[in-house]
Symmetry: C2
Subunit: 345 residues, 2 copies
Amino acid sequence: MSKKISIAIDAMGGDNSPEKTIEGINIFLDKNAYKGDFILNIFGKEDDINKRLKKTNINENLINIIHSNTVVSDKESPMTAVKNSKNTSMWNCINHQLEGKSDISLSAGNTGVLLVISRMILKMMSEVSKPALAGLWPSQSGTSVVLDLGANIECNTENLIDFSELGSALFKSLYPNGTPKVSLLNVGSEEIKGTEIIKSASKKLKDLSNENNFIYKGYIEGNNIMSGNSNVIVTDGFTGNIALKTAEGTASFITKNLKKSLTENLFTKMSLIFSYFSLKKFRDKLDPRKYNGAIFLGLNGPVVKSHGGIDPIGFYYSIDLCYKIIKGNLMSQIRKNLKHSKSVR
Amino acid sequence: MSKKISIAIDAMGGDNSPEKTIEGINIFLDKNAYKGDFILNIFGKEDDINKRLKKTNINENLINIIHSNTVVSDKESPMTAVKNSKNTSMWNCINHQLEGKSDISLSAGNTGVLLVISRMILKMMSEVSKPALAGLWPSQSGTSVVLDLGANIECNTENLIDFSELGSALFKSLYPNGTPKVSLLNVGSEEIKGTEIIKSASKKLKDLSNENNFIYKGYIEGNNIMSGNSNVIVTDGFTGNIALKTAEGTASFITKNLKKSLTENLFTKMSLIFSYFSLKKFRDKLDPRKYNGAIFLGLNGPVVKSHGGIDPIGFYYSIDLCYKIIKGNLMSQIRKNLKHSKSVR
């Protein structure tokens, strides 16, 4: 039997934790316990966790609770994090991973602190110039990977090449039968558009493009991120963060106004009776909880950050993401891809 | 009686022109002819224009057709534009404005060429470090100005300060009773976030903030562009272009999927009977045609670029935008604001 997928979960990070995180774990166990091919290492206050965990019918080998008395505060700054976060539930997760006892860590806690201590404890892969934060976006043809979402506000050509390899490896681990199609986010699709950094990255990506690692599809503009023609969208962390949040803001603006329109009077409320199931399908497809979880790539092991304000279902999706990433052999995909890009450069 | 508002319109630019542009002009005349305080200088093929223009009941003093035999091609590159676009309808518009016969120019033609020849003919204001392309965005509290949308892919601190003054002047010309509230687009709201350029611009904007020109509201993240707390959003042209297009792409992705959901079967189609008027109100509020027209600021006179693919109603909105900008004294607002920022720097 092959080695179990081992996931370290910080049960204490984010709003309403550990209620929310344990509820998410319960959902994950309900759906996946029968597989028996994983173990969840849960870090936090043991009593609290035990009280909330639904253990009926769950094989005890699937769960391992490791008591951690302290929690990283939401107000903690990344600068002082290393000093103040030792032995918190978050720290103990990453440390467990460093010791080889977990394959991946998941936390809904303080983002800045998570990035700093992950990087400090796990260390950057020697082949990588900078680590990146990747996210999943819905698209017309399924799901795309977008990176960097904010780990590096300024990036050079080498960083963008590394992000392309890291993002393609992530895509491949999530969709083993798919082909990563990389595009650089830019202000136009013509070759002369963009900064010198982007233009030189584009040239190198053309040389690297092949069926085994990724196909390079050229530049992509903001309005085509969700078209599905490319499924790995690469950009610097400043632009990626602005794009992600602008998309979130636009989606919330539209759905808020739509909701208001569809509930403003008796007639519109009646209309909901007829369109209920279709609107539910529509909402399900775009449900942001399904895309919960930003993946920190380029360290000696992946770390997933869940939204702090997400609900139990959203947290469940981020556990599921961790499971899939490891099942899809992310780290060997990454090593294979990085070897590929070094071979050409 | 005060001087008439004089608008130069390139009737030949964009898809389906001059049908589309003249149809837009007809709508504008229908709604505004009674005011009698403007003149539309229409550039293009005289016969074509005359054939389509609805002149019934329209005072001839409101229209002035100036024959231009050639048109800037969509394929023309900005590099060769100056050589090849002389005496086109677009060129003649800007030249009319240079001669003081128009206050503003409007074209739905080739964007790159329009920016290049506007800049060459009208020249940059001596007080401005770089011109910028501004757009209007819907927000929870009305409409916001966002700039730069792509005229400058790299910007320094001084550029961002100038954009704040230019954007505030535009806002004030459109909403004389409103107060411009400026924010810098950034990856976080805390002071330590962002590039050195943004941080130093933020410091200077704090010093410049006052009731007469604009109130500086600090950083804004992408998800809050449409919140309405700030109404002048300032960023470099690379980021602004990505944000604008990502918002467009997200909106179109959502509405496409919603439409599919609401028309997929008999029940959902029945629901439309009950929600028709509310959905129409919802669609009207977000109608992108209402926000058609990017304003090129920082030259010795404003130039408006309409979307090339827009329909007659959208083109009508961009004529209306030109009318409002001049009625609101944009250029004197700009001069007043630039004086203000030089006084502190």
